[in-house]
């Protein structure tokens, strides 16, 4: 049982050694004066895939994203219920089918409501 987790433990160890080793060796080489020390504003900057950073990360997001998050959650959670039903389709029979259709109809009413209230448009 525990030995099965050994593989995971090995990967974890590797994942730790890799970054820590990099930082430690750079620091060591700097101490031994092998690594050149040439600071530069561009080098000191936050590495952002080559794109220059602009402002801080603590900005407020447009609240319209919230509607999308909300709609996503609704249909995401729908899948939580549909999956167990789909797996046991044989046993659930007609009753289960009716129940799931009712469930989806209720969600559709919610979607229709969101649509009419213009939650799907980027105003």
């Amino acid at each position: 049982m525990l030995s099965d987790w050994g593989h995971v433990g090995f990967l974890l160890l590797l994942a730790l050694v890799f970054p820590v080793g990099g930082i430690a060796s750079s620091w060591m080489l700097g101490l031994l004066k092998i690594r050149p020390q040439a600071p530069d504003p561009i080098k000191e900057d936050i590495f952002e895939c080559g794109v220059e950073t602009e402002g801080t990360a603590w900005v407020q997001f447009n609240f319209r994203y919230y509607y999308y998050a909300l709609l996503f959650v609704i249909f995401d959670v729908e899948a939580v219920f549909l999956y167990p039903w789909a797996v046991s389709l044989d046993e659930a029979s007609v009753t289960g089918f009716i129940a799931v259709v009712t469930f989806i109809v209720i969600l559709t009413i919610g979607l229709a409501y969101a649509w009419r209230k213009k939650a799907l448009e980027w105003l």
Binding site: F63, Y66, A69, L70, V73, V77, V80, F81, P84
Partner: protein
């Protein structure tokens, strides 16, 4: 060392306590909400653990699975609750320009 029921229960209790502490001590509303979500997830863990290690040997699959079903419902309800909570947070922010729960002081005697 095998991982038994009590380990899960202790982990669940710890997570629940951390969540409760966050919910009561955090000043930012979103932090409080995260604490509440953590409490729900601690409960989920407890349910799954009880399903995985049934108390009675003669429990049927249906009885054991009711723990799993419970978790699905908890996840759904927590999502609905979070949606309403965030909507309320937006409403409060528009009114008060803050979502610091310590500054919710319009109502007191």
């Amino acid at each position: 060392m095998a991982i038994e029921l009590e380990h899960y229960l202790i982990l669940g209790a710890l997570l629940f306590s951390i969540g409760l502490y966050m919910a009561l001590a955090k000043r930012n509303f979103v932090g409080v909400l995260m604490g509440i979500e953590m409490m729900f997830n601690a409960v989920n863990l407890t349910f799954i653990a009880f399903s995985r290690f049934p108390r009675f040997a003669d429990m049927t699959d249906a009885e054991r699975l009711s723990g799993h079903v419970f978790v699905i419902f908890v996840i759904t309800v927590a999502a609905a609750e979070a949606a309403v909570a965030l909507a309320l947070a937006m409403l409060v922010y528009r009114n008060r320009e803050t979502i610091d729960v310590d500054r919710m002081d319009l109502l007191k005697w």
